[in-house]
Symmetry: C2
Subunit: 275 residues, 2 copies
């Protein structure tokens, strides 16, 4: 009997412990390649994974901020995690990703133990037809990582660029279903990566490709591990928009929902663009 | 002739260089005291200030994330800044704040040099009557820092608690004018602090005080220094809301606008609450 091959996402997140506390070695995965370097979502997931693998780890992810400090070359990288503070119900971690002597990413992660409290949702689950009735976006040849996700757009996809008149869209709002392809049970690293699957808001707003790159990316996790396990392999509904594009930087704000209307995460990023 | 005393905000941000690269010593300011420890906005501003004072600093603030790792005692603290990566137009900084051996806050800051590009705003300036026609919120005795801000609520203040029936509000949305009190010309540290002046969304939604504390706080700066200088001492318009309150944590998303409708910053935080 043969062991089934691990999912490409799990292969991409493989980390080997190195001599020295909190030091890990990984490598970029061709399956999650972007136009230049790796898909940022998998980088974020890898840095979170290094925290989750640490024997001192307590609790589940609450907040993750990843700063993309420089280009990540295809090939091996090192991840150093440091526990800055451990409290009764929260932990604060510092993470650095290096290639050779160069820091290519920094991150902070907060883990927390959740308890039952008064709860309320203020944001409405956005109306959307079910994923099963929509066509999957054809993967983009120039961004290999798009083959690793099943994305189905309700609004604000790239496909419409070919069919619409050249000019600006009225806004950069996207509403889309998304899951790993092939399907994979949802967990925190996968959700972190899914929070970065939105195409750059600039490309939704303007039908022109220019150099862009995420500078800083934050995820606040609203769901616990049990809630993620209940979602399993189902599509998530992502809703993204920008507040402003100005002087070389735009922001993005997004929510990630479970198919039954549970808010799983909110996520923000600020992105460089060239012109 | 006597020199005028510095503004209390500048006093609160005073940092003395210590032996060792990137090491500074400061102290909490009674003028910005909170119910327990200092107002988190001034802590964030202080950590940003330590980066801005560094002789290696290039560019202006683009992104700031502060993680409140543990209680900050009234008194002195040390701030260590490290330049993790310097690129042609961006710098990535790591910051740790310590009291004795304990890390009480961590932060990452991205500085950037901005250039003119295609620009667009997608979020509308929220309709609001001018600050001059609204009453200032009376400072709260239990939170000394509220004396250091002139806050005028259009919606979602705490004052309405006394007059409304006991029960939940329909939402936690606040719209409020705010500036330093006494007035002070706007700069990046002041804007970082102003991004944290919103009362906890939980207290706007529910008329009950429970222990709360910000865990992680992020600011994306959309304005450059010249734009902040043009604002000067005028009120800013802040617009804040929550997406979800669940299992001991709620989030907050907010925009900070100049009085003429310029989006200066977007800011997010995730906050612990006890019940």
């Amino acid at each position: 009997m043969s062991t089934p091959a691990p999912h490409p996402f799990d292969q991409a997140l493989e980390l080997q412990p190195q001599p020295g506390q909190g030091l890990w070695r990984g490598a970029t995965s061709p399956a999650y390649g972007n136009m230049v370097g790796p898909f940022g979502g998998v980088t974020a997931a890898t840095l979170l994974q290094a925290v989750l693998l640490d024997p001192q780890r307590q609790g589940e992810p609450l907040a993750l901020t990843v700063n993309y400090a420089g280009p990540i070359a295809d090939g091996p990288f090192d991840v150093q995690v440091t526990l800055a503070r451990s409290n009764r119900s929260t932990q604060h971690w510092l993470v650095q990703m290096r290639q050779g002597e160069a820091t290519v990413a920094t991150a902070t992660a907060v883990l927390a133990t959740r308890r039952e409290t008064w709860s309320a949702v203020e944001t409405g689950f956005p109306p959307a037809p079910p994923a099963s009735g929509l066509d999957r976006l054809l993967p983009l040849a120039r961004a290999r990582w798009t083959s690793a996700y099943d994305m189905r757009f309700v609004k604000g996809g790239l496909l419409s660029q070919a069919s619409r008149p050249v000019g600006e869209n009225a806004d950069s709002v996207s509403l889309q279903w998304v899951r790993d392809e092939p399907p994979r049970a949802l967990d925190f690293p996968a959700l972190a990566a899914l929070c970065d699957v939105f195409f750059p808001r600039l490309f939704v707003r303007r039908p022109a490709w220019v150099p862009i790159g995420t500078v800083s990316f934050t995820v606040y996790f609203h769901a616990d591990g049990a809630a993620l396990a209940r979602i399993g392999q189902q599509h998530l509904l992502g809703h993204a928009r920008a507040h402003q594009f100005s002087k070389g930087f735009f922001d993005q704000a997004a929510e990630m929902w479970g198919p039954d209307g549970e808010l799983l995460a909110v996520t923000h990023q600020i992105v460089y663009y060239k012109e």
